[in-house]
């Protein structure tokens, strides 16, 4: 009798918690999705609907005009291709160089490797702004310790506005957030049992083939994590991109100059266009266009994303 009452109280509590949890999750999901839904609704909305109090999400006058405007202003297709090339290039190179460094820090200890790992931590901790100006000056007159002037006769290379800064930093595992990726790889390789490696050595594999053929296939979760993070963060990065690539057409430079470009368009355009709200609408459409490829990518990979990080060994 008492037991039954207890049981029912328990199930009451559980039911209540289920409802609270449902409300919380739906509410927070709404908070996250709201800006995206709202941008989609703005993008397909006609100007006439903007002031209409009846229209909240679903527009009364459907139009693709905003898309056309934003695509032409941002030079969307070229920008998309450029961004894709840049992001995938740096992603692959960063993942490779970080995997090597991470493996060495985890398993191939040498004299001073702990000190060097402290260096990795330092690169994570120092704000990128602190070293931005010297790097900028360095890339503007790139000399590679005086080697290039010797070859070209006293002239240094200007690497700005090319992909070289990204190639160089990602090949040397010093690109955007690379310290974090080295850390992820190191933690993961530390988690793989030593016996696996020793067995390979006994079978006569060298360090290189052990790494490539035994350790890397085992490290797929962490590789996926690093590839995804690296791609996404490079795509979204405005800090380095707007500094190194002032006039190239990639997504984040186009986005940050979007308000300015819009202003120019409105100055020269028809008078009916001179409306700050219309400008804002096109701007929102532009943002939507910039994040759309990522959202589509995410739809395909989110399963790996969530699963892989659980197995990456960030936790130690």
């Amino acid at each position: 009798m008492i037991l039954a009452r207890l049981l029912s109280l328990e199930s009451w509590k559980r039911g209540l918690w289920t409802i609270v949890r449902l409300v919380l999750i739906i509410g927070l999901s709404f908070v996250i999705l709201y800006p995206i839904i709202q941008k989609i609704s703005t993008a397909i909305k006609d100007k006439a609907d903007l002031y209409s109090p009846i229209v909240v999400f679903i527009p009364e006058h459907f139009t693709l005009d905003n898309f056309k405007q934003a695509i032409s202003i941002m030079d969307y297709w070229e920008t998309l291709a450029n961004t894709f090339v840049l992001s995938s290039m740096t992603t692959i190179m960063t993942a490779a160089s970080c995997a090597f460094a991470g493996y060495a820090f985890a398993r191939l200890k040498f004299k001073g490797s702990n000190l060097l790992f402290a260096g990795v931590i330092l690169t994570i901790l120092v704000p990128p702004t602190t070293i931005l100006i010297p790097i900028y000056m360095n890339l503007k007159d790139f000399t590679l310790l005086g080697v290039i002037p010797l070859l070209t006769g006293g002239k240094s290379l200007n690497l700005l506005n090319s992909y070289w800064p990204f190639i160089l930093t990602s090949l040397t595992a010093n690109s955007l957030k690379a310290g974090l990726y080295i850390f992820i790889f190191r933690q993961f390789f530390r988690g793989i049992p030593k016996e696996v490696e020793e067995a390979a050595y006994i079978d006569g594999a060298g360090v290189g083939s052990t790494f490539l053929r035994i350790m890397l296939p085992n490290a797929i979760p962490s590789i996926v994590t690093v590839l995804l993070f690296s791609f996404v963060w490079q795509w979204n990065d405005s800090f380095f991109t707007t500094t190194y690539l002032t006039s190239s057409k990639v997504m984040s430079t186009q986005l940050s100059s979007l308000p300015y470009n819009l202003q120019i368009l409105l100055e020269g355009g028809a008078t009916t266009n001179k409306d700050p709200f219309f400008m804002s609408m096109v701007q929102d459409t532009g943002i939507l266009l910039a994040i759309l490829p990522l959202v589509i990518l995410y739809l395909f990979v989110q399963r790996y994303f969530v699963e892989s990080i659980e197995r990456t060994g960030i936790v130690g």
Binding site: R21, I32, V56, A104, P127, D237, I309
Partner: protein
């Protein structure tokens, strides 16, 4: 030649060979570290202590001691304000984000219908959070209109109700204000806690289920299980997440913008470097203080 290299390798022990390969594997990173991090870091320190003038044949640097630092702290009109702002923001946001993400990680770890969907929605901000988008969004007029149309202050009046209830039941006024502030900035917090939720979730999943089973047999409630098992087991990750949250804020804050502007639009490299160094030192102090206090309370299984 071949035999010589062979001999060289033969004569090494396995450990020596591994050390050699280790050094080779680290070498690309080391080169990058020197060229793209360490030398620039020292140069930046040097810039911050000099006055830099550009002329026909490049730049001339003159050592001027701490004048740039003094200028940043006393003469520059916005540096102090923005520095305090970003530090206060950090101090307010970091605990909120960490607690919120721990809570959500626990929630998302429970079994319920649509868990996979909920998880993928909650990690969406990891993909979308970006400097440019955030800045553009802040200036979006459409957003502003829609907000006015849509909730016309319903949100705010609701929170005021809640605040009154909490105040009347004797909750400290500062705490109430802090929480109200948190509610107002819920989007900001949610969108900055994606990675942290992932880290906590990964941590929770490494806790062995036997612990929970045993505690359940002993009659512990879910609440007790959280405080006695989950919380101590994930406490090392609190430190990780605090550090991550602080570092993450570098990519989008006013301080970064100010430093960049001072450097690249007014070309005052010395002042800009000095600002960057002050900022770096302040952050280091915050990191060290929080790392000290958290690691004193952290529970390690070993």
């Amino acid at each position: 030649m071949k035999t010589i290299t062979k001999l060289v390798f033969r004569s090494r022990t396995y450990n020596e060979q591994k050390a050699l390969w280790g050094f080779l594997y680290v070498l690309p990173w080391l080169l990058g570290f020197l060229f793209f991090f360490f030398i620039p870091l020292l140069t930046s320190l040097q810039y911050s202590l000099s006055s830099i003038k550009a002329n026909a044949n490049g730049m001339t640097m003159k050592y001027i001691g701490f004048a740039n630092y003094i200028e940043a702290l006393t003469v520059n009109t916005s540096f102090n304000r923005i520095l305090t702002e970003s530090v206060v923001n950090m101090v307010v946001n970091v605990p909120l984000i960490v607690i919120f993400s721990l809570f959500l990680a626990v929630l998302l770890n429970q079994k319920f219908v649509g868990r996979a969907l909920a998880r993928s929605i909650f990690f969406l901000p990891v993909i979308l959070a970006s400097g440019v988008i955030a800045t553009l969004e802040a200036s979006s007029l459409v957003q502003a209109i829609n907000e006015q149309n849509a909730n016309g202050g319903v949100f705010s009046s609701g929170t005021i109700e809640l605040a009154n209830i909490m105040l009347r039941s004797g909750v400290n006024e500062d705490i109430v204000l802090y929480l109200m502030d948190a509610v107002q900035r819920i989007y900001q917090i949610v969108s900055q806690s994606g990675v942290q939720i992932l880290i906590f979730l990964a941590g929770i999943q490494t806790i062995s289920p036997q612990l929970y089973e045993a505690s359940k047999i002993e009659g512990a409630t879910g609440y007790e299980a959280f405080w006695k098992i989950t919380f101590p087991m994930v406490s090392p990750l609190i430190l990780v997440n605090v550090i991550y949250t602080i570092i993450d804020s570098f990519s989008r804050n006013n301080m970064t913008t100010l430093i960049k502007e001072t450097g690249f639009t007014t070309f005052n490299f010395g002042l800009s470097s000095a600002m960057a160094w002050i900022y770096f030192l302040v952050i280091m102090i915050i990191l060290l203080v929080s790392a000290y206090f958290i690691s004193k309370r952290v529970f390690y299984q070993e």
